[in-house]
Structures are given as C-alpha cells and as structure tokens.
C-alpha cells in the first residue's frame, strides 16, 4: 500500500524536512496492513487532513496573526482549518500561539487533556518553542514541549501568516502519513499507550471520592 503525502498546489520537493515524513511512511510500510483496511485508511486520512479544526487558543502576539490567517487575505479555509472551535472537546489541534507562563501551564495541559484523540499540537512562535525573548524570565515556560508533545514547530516572532500556513500544511502531511485503523502511531507503543490510559482512568477514579453532595 503506497501512501501519498501529496498536498494540492505545493510540490513535494518544495517542502523542507522531507526525511521526517519519509521515516513515518517507512514505518507505516514496514508495519503493513491489508488492502481493504489500507484503502479505507487512505480515505479517512484524506478527509481528516483536510478538515483539521483548531482550538481558538491564543495567549499573546501570535494570536493576532492566527486571526489574520482566519481573515480573507490568507484565508485558512482553503485548507479546511476554518472551523475554529472554542471547546477543546471539538478541536483536532491546538495552536499554542504565544508565551506560556507558569500560571498558564497547568491550564494548557488541562486543555490538551480535554481534547479528544487523535490530537495534535502546533508550537507557534519563539515563545512556544523555547521561551523566545522571555526565556530568562522567572515566570515563563521555556518551550511547550516540556509539558505537552509537539507535532509541528513554526518559528518566528511572530511567524508570518505564510509561515503559519506552511506549518499547518506540514501538519496535514503528517496526518496523511498516519494510520487511523488498526493501531496507533503516536510515537509510543500500544502497550505504553494502554498503560498511560490506565493511569488516567485510575486518576479519574480517585476523584470520584470527592464529595459532590454540595454541588447538586
């Protein structure tokens, strides 16, 4: 089964970091799937990659550029990103646009946890990647990858809208190189994933002891 990570209107050679995608495709090929599931997968990933819904999440400057790509001139509706959701439950990816501070970090983690799988994270701008100009500050997280796994990094301060669109196209390619049916490829093995989910469930059961009688 040959998977294609083709993006309409941009040539394969024009993208950077093709080795990364090749590696994902190689892994996909090695694992092997049967013809029917493979074809179905192809269709699902085509649909998924063209209707990625972002969470409306912005903490600072990059958020304004995120709004700009939503407006008519750059128009991310051309790629299927236009359905920005305000609820993490309905979003496919979170664009971390802006600085994440110590006070915001647990909130961001909670938002990420509230999103339904499969979910992606795009670190936008210098602050989300490394802390940016505020790296030395006492209250800034130096990189969101310290708290949540990141799929695509878009450098810039703030990145130009074109750069953001390029980064989002890279995310689309990544989605196209994934397996939807019959297993995971989230960078961890199935066993590890199960273990993680179990730990989460246990945590949820601990909370059940919390007295809710007063909440009604």
């Amino acid at each position: 089964m040959n998977r294609s990570v083709k993006i309409k209107s941009m040539k394969y050679e024009d993208f950077n970091d093709n080795e990364y995608i090749e590696e994902m495709l190689k892994e996909l090929r090695e694992n092997g799937t049967n013809v029917i599931v493979g074809c179905l997968d192809d269709v699902i990933e085509w649909g998924r990659s063209n209707s990625l819904w972002p969470l409306t999440f912005a903490t600072s400057c990059c958020g304004i550029e995120f709004m700009a790509i939503g407006a008519a001139r750059y128009d991310f509706a051309r790629f299927g990103f236009e359905v920005a959701r305000s609820s993490p439950r309905q979003a496919d990816f979170i664009m971390v646009a802006g600085t994440i501070t110590h006070k915001m970090a647990p909130v961001l983690k909670r938002l990420y946890d509230q999103m339904a799988d499969p979910k992606y994270v795009v670190a936008t701008g210098g602050c989300a990647i490394s802390g940016g100009p505020f790296k030395k500050s006492y209250h800034v997280v130096d990189g969101v990858d310290k708290i949540i796994p990141v799929d695509v990094y878009i450098p810039g301060c703030p990145p130009r809208p074109e750069a953001m669109l390029y980064g989002l196209m890279q995310l689309q390619r990544k989605v196209k190189a994934e397996k939807f049916l019959g297993g995971l490829n989230k960078g961890i093995s199935e066993k590890e994933y199960e273990k993680l989910m179990k730990a989460d469930t246990n945590k949820a059961e601990d909370y059940r002891e919390y007295d809710e009688s007063g909440l009604a």
Partner: protein
Amino acid sequence: MGNNKDIKEIVSSVCPAAVWSDAGDGMFRIPAVSLRELAETLKNTYGFDFLRCLTGMDWGEDGLGCVYHLENTSTGENVIISAADANRDNPALPTVCDIWKGANFYEREVYDFFGIKFIGHPDLRRLFLRDDWKGHPMRKDYDESLNPLNMENEVSRDDAPSYEMTDDGSYILKRHPLFEEEEYVINIGPQHPATHGVLRFQVSLEGETIKKIDAHCGYIHRGIEKLCETSTYPQTLGFTDRLDYLGAMQNRHALCMCIEKALGLEVSERIRYIRTIMDELQRIDSHLLFISCLCQDMGALTVFFFGFRDREKVLDILEQTTGGRLIQTYNTIGGVQADIHPDFVRKVKDFIVYMRSKLNEYHEIFTGNVIARQRLTGTGVLSREDAISFGATGGTGRASGWACDVRKRHPYAMYGKVDFQEITFTEGDCFARYMVRVKEIEQSLNIIEQLIDNIPEGEYQMKVKPLIKLPVGSWSTAVEGSRGEFGVYLESRGDKYPYRVKFRSTGLPLVACVDTIARNSKIADLIAIGGTLDYVIPDIDR
C-alpha cells in the same frame, strides 16, 4: 512634567519632613507615616484626582517603597511623591486605595512583586502570580530557584486577606469571604473566546444579573520589568513591542523618549515626523482590530472580515518601511531603525483616501444596525468620576467625558503642532466607547494628512554612543497608546542597565473597573463591555 514652586510649598506645609530630590524628574520623599495625610490633602484640597501610576520599588538599604505619580485633571499639574519602609523583612505602607480607586489593583501588584503590605487594603491577594508562589520576584534579593514549574492545578481561595493595624503598632491579618456560600459563581476564562486572551473572571450571578466580578490576571505575566533590569538599554526596547502588540510603535516610542530625556538627547524634526505618522498608523491598525473583534464577539462576522481587509493595508505600509507586520521594532534610542521607504508617502496618501471611503461601510453595516445599537446603547456605563478615579484612560475615559488624551495634555513629538480634535462623549456606555474609536480613526487620518507632505529632510538616526549609560536619577514619560496612556518610569543608578523600569499598563485600570461597570447588568452584556473596553492581556500582565 515639571513640579512648580507651588507644589513644593503645598507638600512641605502638609508634611515638613518631605525631602525634595532633584535627580532626573525629581520627586518628594516623604516618611511613610505622613503618606496618607498628604495623599488625602492632595486629593481633596488640591484636586490631584488622577493617580497616573503607582510603582513598587526596591531601594536596597533604603527599604522597599512606592512612587506615586499624581495629576490634577483640571489644571494639568503633576507631582511625584515616594515613600519607603526600611524594614525589609516585613515592609508595610498605608493604603491609598480608598482615595484613588485605581490604587486597589496597583497595590495588589506591588504586594505581589515586592511583598509590601498595604495596611487597610480590603483585598490584598496576589494579582499576577499564583497564591502558592514563594517570595516576591521583583525584589533584588529574590532567589529564582524557589519556584520551579508547578504543574498542579491552582486552587483559588474564596477569601481575601487584609492587614489592619492594632493600637500597639503591630498588624493583624483578617480574612474576608469573596463570595458567600449560597452565591452562584461561574468562571469565564482563562480559555474563553470573548475575554480577548487569557483573562479570568469569576462572576457571581443572580439569575442573569451580575452581582460581582472578581478578575484574575497573570496568566500571561512574563516578568518583563524584571527582565529589563538585566538588559542593556537598547535590549529593553524589544520587550515594549511585545507588551501591547497593537500599540508596538507607541510603546517603543515612550521608552525611547524616556531614555532620550535622560540622555538629554534632542531628536531631529524628521524623526519626530516619522514617529508621529507611525504612531497614528498603528492607532488606526489597533482601532480597526478593535472594531473587528467587538463585532465578532457580538456575532457580526462580516465586520471582522472588513476590519482585517483594511488592516492589512496598514500592515503593508508598515512592513515596507520597518520589515515587520505586527512587531516592527522600529524606534531606536535617538531615532528610527531605517529611513522611510521611497513609496511610503505615496502609499500613505492612497491609504488615507481609501480608508475615508471605507469608514462608511462600517457605519452602514454595524453602527446603524438595530441589534448592535440595542446591545451597546445604555449598557456598561462608567461615570466620569469613576473613570478618573480608576485612571481608565484612552477611549474608555473619553467616552465617559474625561478629556484624557496625552497628545493634548502633554504634547510630545509633533502633536503640539498638528490640528486635531479630541473626541469625547458624555454617555460613558458601550456605544460611546465604540464611537470614540471609530471617530478617532478619522482624526488619525487628519493628523497623518497634515504631516505626510511636509516630512523635512534630516537624519533618521542621531549619533548615540554604542554603550549607553544614563546618569543617576529617575524619569518618566507618557504617550497616548492605542488604548490609553502608556507610561514609562525609569530609574537609573548610572549603570548600563536600568535599576528599575516600570511600564504603566493601559489595560490594568480598565480591568480594575470591570467590576464597577458590569455590576447589575446582564451576563450577555459582559461580552460587549469587555469588547468595548478593548484591553490587551499581555499589556495588563506584562
């Protein structure tokens, strides 16, 4: 911003122990015991009704204290007073939050950063940092290893501490409940599309009516003021663009002006022209975004697209000269980064013509819209007295009838020489706040039109030493930012690093007055109120 002889007499008659120090702008140092008496007299007898800025300070061996910038809004007089407590372990100052309402949030900020206890303050919680934060980060002896990243969810307390003085001179801690047990409290934010960023409101409701709002800031507190203390002067400039990114030009202008003032550097006419035009372009950009966001929050998505369409035109002009779309990093100490692009003048003139015709579109689709009118007219009224007391400057203050435009009060750059009208309304409601901004776009176009043809020849960057050291002293400057008075207070000890830099946030007073504005209005109006106050959260949190 000079202090004339009159004020010196007034201060020394009320407080004979006051010491006038001359370094920089100069200020009065008064003992902490007579602070309250002086503040009350200045406010009640001499009409200093506007607390421009309240700055926390760590003066090392002299103790911890505050600098108060006061202004008399009817005469335009200014006075700067400061008070300190030498006891570093348990510093305390009397509160002034019942004299100027805006001091409430300022004092909470100072408590948060410096640990100064304000005796008599009703709600002395931390403003920006988590409740379980250890130590006070803006103190010079703060140990950064105390607070590693804490991923536990924050627990918010339901009571507020306050300190009161007993007869024997010690303090007792009292706790007041913020919300009663039976109150219905909902959370809005920090992740909410209508808070314009990461601001959090706890709203107590009775049915749909708002009974009380408790604002939580600090979700984007980046510690910029502390970072400035370890940066050289040219390095500090970069942070200002990222404070209020819709007023990047003006913010940077303010800091450059402050450093130039301290250096005694006079910039050329050409630089002042360019800076003024850039400031006004930035203001148009910001006001267009304000209209877009307000309308989007209220469901009028078409206007959002109109606003961004026109905004891109401004950004193109800015980008051609500065190289940046949103964050331009254009002003420098003693000039600007690069000369204007050869096409700049032509493009700006084209834009003026274009923008004037497009303004009608906004009026047709939104201003005259029945739904918009009904949601905006009469909701969220802020009185003139409250606007001054809170220090809510900018469009918010002018919508309440307070002529608070820094461009008129303390003209800088070319503003003293151009003819423009200061837009004021008297209603103080959401609609007035919206109209002020729309009309200000016209005024900004007028200002640019008067300047654009007459940009004189000259240098765009004055000669400045590569290593900038300021003399000992303290200076302050203010500009009219996109959403109010943006001030810079700078204290130098003769080093190449500033000893303390304080930015007067334009948004913090606006958030401070949300509770007053929104009480007894409907929860749906909170969106219109937040939209028309037009705060930018990173500017509040710094």
